[in-house]
Amino acid sequence: MSGSMYDLSVATYSQEGRIYQVEYATKAVENSETVIGVKCKDGVILAAEKQKFSRLLEDNTNKRIYNIDTQTGMALCGKLPDGRNILQRAKAESSQYQDMYAIPASANVLSDRVAQYVHAYTMYSGARPFGSATFIASYNTFDGYELYMIEPSGNKYAYHACTHGKGRAICKSEFERRSFKDLTCQEALVYIAKMLILAHEEFKEKKYEYEMTWITDNNGRKHQSVPQDLINNAVQQAEQLIEQDQMGE
């Protein structure tokens, strides 16, 4: 797929009205590791898979999910350096909002500002779109639990459940099958682990680490890492579920 000569600059529309450079940037996200965001009955969960591409890598480092504020978290999908650039901007925006208005920014406002920043990079030929999609999860007393995803185009939507990366098709079909709104966060961990494991079905032999964070009624409504033993249990149970499904077939 090539856009002939209309795909060399982000400041050029193609004849059908497409901006190919933004689509290529989105391709970079689509080819990267899967990230999931899910709203459950009592909270929000962000989860990411990390391939251990070398045995020499240190465990539980090289994070993809960060805190923007005590009650807001951001997960990065796609090119991590670009994602971290967006993260730094989000932290600055959140900090500035709090300085000005003395309350934490709601996810609605924060994701809007982040989306505008990401979009700005799609308008000038001297810059390029970010090759990274970001997920914002947060809690505040007025709006409750919120989950947003911002794409390289600058598009942002609020979601019950969203995903990006290589395994997005598998995850989306799982979202449609299962009603996460009826599960508590703790119950949902297994199914999230299952989705992340299925997402890299073709690379089964490689080692993966799973990073999960949540904001729930039970952990003081703060954005924190899911305890490692809960993640390990969820992964174990998920592997059993997958085996059962396969034997059933």
Binding site: Y24, K27, S54, L56, D82, R128, G131
Partner: protein, 248 residues
């Protein structure tokens, strides 16, 4: 594929979602001579192979102290490395002045990665053509990071970058399970053994072309001097990782 259309600047994505200029910058790291790092619970060791531009010239240094608790080893464009080194040193000094303590290693690496990423997103700039191995010790523990021209960074148990580094990485994959509990001396010998795997057939390790830097929880960053290097290189002949297993 018409690669040449998409690979001349950092602001053009290829149809497959790649940034070719950034990938080309990573090649510059592979052209530099090998440097490697490995850590135990108490120490980090950096080993590098130095190159000599000509017989009449000195050897290019590859390891630089950033602060008492932190040092880097470089592979790639030395001039770009100088910029990053200066930046890291300044940041450490400012942090020490403001907070009266050592700059946490991970945070400084994050700043370097951020700086590197900015250079990959402008039409008027080029990425840094150097990869760093950052060794440091802070209250969070003993660290070894690798940074790339792309702005990515990773934390490792041990890592080798530069020319012919795959041979060293293969050595590491076989023996890294021993490093955690190794003594400083064993760590240095492992590092030198790994470098030995990566040198050319007609080359030899000697105290002139090898650089070893050590860092410990109670040991500020120092380079081994020529005599110490000679001694360790001699010990290499009788060193084998198997003997370390038998001891444990």
């Amino acid at each position: 594929m018409l690669k040449h259309l998409y690979d001349t600047d950092c602001v053009t994505w290829s149809p497959q979602g790649k940034l070719f200029q950034v990938e080309y910058a990573m090649e510059a790291v592979k052209q530099g001579s090998i440097c490697l790092g490995l850590k135990s619970n108490e120490n980090v060791v950096l080993c590098s192979l130095k190159r000599q531009p000509s017989e009449l010239a000195g050897y290019q240094e590859k390891q630089f102290k950033i602060d008492d608790h932190m040092a880097i080893a470089i592979a790639g464009l030395t001039a770009d490395a100088r910029v990053l080194c200066k930046y890291m040193r300044t940041e450490c000094l400012e942090y020490k002045y403001t907070y009266e303590s050592h700059h946490p290693v991970g945070r400084l690496v994050f700043k370097v990665a951020e700086k590197s990423q900015h250079k990959t997103q402008s039409g008027a700039k080029r990425p840094y053509g150097v990869g760093l191995l950052v060794a440091g010790i802070d209250p969070n523990g003993v660290h070894l990071f690798e940074t790339c021209p792309s702005g990515n960074y990773y934390e490792y148990k041990c890592q080798a970058i530069g020319s012919r580094s795959q041979a060293a990485r293969t050595y590491f994959e076989s023996w890294f399970h021993l490093f955690e509990k190794s003594t400083l001396e064993q760590l240095i010998l492992h590092g030198l053994s790994a470098i030995k795997k990566a040198i050319m057939e007609d080359e030899e390790l000697n105290e002139k072309n090898v650089e070893v830097g050590i860092l410990g929880k109670n040991l500020k960053f120092t380079h081994l001097n020529a005599q110490e290097l000679k001694d360790y290189i001699t010990k290499l002949d009788t060193f084998s990782p198997n003997s370390q297993i038998q001891q444990e």
